[in-house]
């Protein structure tokens, strides 16, 4: 049984003519132990998808089963508790609390579980050691480098032994060296048996994933298993259909270029894909919304 199972999940924003379809009848399931990389141009609905999976947001339509439990209509209180017990978040902007030290930040999810202070700090200390920051326990977040900060955030996401780890562009604010460290860490966590969902704009990073998903205009337009260390073919084709013009682009990896991909390119590629029906469906949907 999949850990995550979304059926016909849509997310609409706004009313009438101003309606935006952020997710368009997405069907998506994730098995335990998968490391899913999600790619796609800006505004294609990646964050929206992760927010719904992470129970931070509710879908407008469709059903969502998390660990065999129907969760899409749950009340805020129960959603909070499920987040606390089964989901770990890693954000692009780290989101450590500035007034707490590293150890307290890592222990934060445990505090809401009602564990005793000593237990919490002990557990947090152990996790910090795993991410290689045992010597930074009593630092304040502002005293850490970007890469270290993100490792602390990863420790915080792991401290509860979550069923799934959700990372929205975890390397988006990091240089390539730090990105590498973070990806190695996520890879290790994956190999320990954890389920990870990660959004990234950097095709190189899909090397670490066991499965790569490509989104466009609120739909999943490609979804393939991939071998460790390899970039899936459809991602490569997208990468090399755009020329790297400057040295800066080269350094950033392809992420900046990917963001700049014009709609035409992706659409051309879509036609070569298996899921051809989607664009037509979406057209219908937009019409519906306008009525």
């Amino acid at each position: 049984m999949p850990v995550i199972e979304l059926k016909d999940v849509s997310k609409l924003y706004g009313f009438g003519d101003a309606t935006t379809v952020a997710l368009d009848e997405v069907n998506f399931s994730v098995e335990k132990g998968e490391f899913v990389a999600i790619m796609g141009p800006s505004g294609s609905g990646k964050s929206t998808l992760l927010n719904i999976i992470g129970l931070l947001d509710k879908p407008t339509h469709g059903t969502y089963d998390l660990g065999g439990r129907r969760v899409e209509r749950m009340r805020a209180n129960r959603r909070s508790k499920i987040r606390r017990d089964t989901i770990g978040f890693i954000f692009q902007s780290f989101n450590l609390l500035p007034r707490l030290n590293v150890l307290e930040n890592v222990a934060l999810p445990l505090a809401y579980k009602g564990k005793t202070q000593t237990k919490r700090l002990k557990q947090a200390g152990a996790i910090l050691e795993e991410v290689g920051l045992a010597d930074r326990e009593y630092f304040m977040p502002k005293q850490l480098s970007g890469g270290q900060t993100q490792r602390v955030a990863i420790a915080r996401a792991l401290v509860n032994n979550p069923k799934i780890i959700i990372a929205d562009e975890p390397t988006g604010n990091l240089d390539s060296a730090s990105s590498l460290v973070i990806m190695e860490l996520l890879d290790k966590i994956h190999r320990d048996g954890n389920t990870i969902l990660m959004v990234t704009h950097n095709p190189e990073l899909t090397k670490y994933a066991s499965r790569v998903v490509f989104m466009h205009d609120g739909s999943i337009v490609a979804d393939e298993m991939s071998k460790f260390g390899e970039i899936p073919g459809f991602i490569k084709r997208r990468m090399y259909s755009v020329k790297i013009k400057t040295q800066e682009d080269k350094l950033k990896g392809v992420s900046a270029v990917m963001k700049a991909i014009p709609d035409k390119n992706t659409k051309n590629d879509d036609s070569s894909n298996k899921k051809q029906k989607k664009p037509i469906k979406k057209y219908k949907r937009k019409n519906k919304a306008k009525k």
């Binding site: 992470g54 947001d57 508790k81 606390r84 017990d85 978040f89 989101n95 934060l108 809401y112 509860n160």
Partner: protein, 409 residues
Amino acid sequence: MLLSRNIRLAVSSLRSSKWRSYLTMLGIIIGVASVVVTVSIGEGVKKQVVKQINELGPELITVRPGTTVQRDENGNIVGVNLLAGINPGSFSEKEWTAITETSGVQSTSPLNVVSGVPRYQDKTMPNSIVVGTTDNFAALIGQELDYGAFFSDNDKNENTVVIGKRVADELFGELAPIGKSIQVRGHTLIVKGIFKQFPSTPLVASNDYNSTIFMPYEVSKKVSSGQVQIYQILAKAKDEKTANSAAANIRSNLTKLHGGEEDFTVLKQDENLAVVSNMLNLLTAFIAGVAAISLLVGGIGVMNIMLVLVSERTREIGVRKAVGATNKQILTQFLVESSVLCVVGGLLGIILSVIANYLIRVFTDLQPVITIPIILISVGIALIVGIIFGTTPAVIAARKDPIESLRYE
């Protein structure tokens, strides 16, 4: 456990912007301090009055014109008439005689007002009171003299006076002006004695014996050309046990004398006490109520700052919710924070009021008393203010949408 964590969190949050916290607390500090000071002054005055009244002994009965109290059928006091003191009228010798002849009464002493301003050489003392009384007055109220002696049966027709300490000080400018003479309504009277300091009873000005000039009753009649205006008659019962029946007898005798009208007040010492403390409580409550308004203003300041704090910490709220904080846990966090702010303000207010009370003791006659209940109640009030004015900001924090909060810059 969670509460102690929340308190620690709140303290560190308040410390992170110290000045803002202090300024916010200022309203609470001043509010609590003013309430505590007024209540402790009231408490102190009550204590002084109680002490004084107790010194007079339980067998003393005071009879005054005017209805100061309301009684039920059993004679228990059910209400106090604050305005009765303004124009109560006066007794004549009829009532005095009636009281003296009442069974159970051992001795009596009237206070007959002489309307006149005393003069010594070219100095006058307009705020003094001149009264005529009997030679047993000093013994009746158990007051001793510093210098000289109280007039006796022998000089009941002599032009002598015994004066309070303040009269000696203000009119004569010396401690013991024995043998000096004063003028009242064209009569010359010689000072025979000076009372010891009467315990001062603030707020009960009619009883300020320190500014009073006492002369023999017969002389006072002569000085005021035969006119009698008795504003108080003291009666002493044989002992404590007969005090109740004696007071009841006085009441029924005087009522009969006044044609069935009870337009006077008979108070035993314990009732006197009840009346005074009743009056003081009313007064204290009123002033404390006014002071409490500043607490309200302080509360609004707290609410204002909490709203700012909640919006500043939107992102933190988002993160906390993402890692599993429930709405209730967020609500508690901010509620504890506003409560801590107010309780700390309350404690500082109490410290301020202790300092203020010390200054009041040094510079005035008042003896404010801070009791444990006053402290507990004022901390409790501060806590309530924190909860009341912290609720709206805390609810706003708890209801924030996690995604929007995480995006907040």
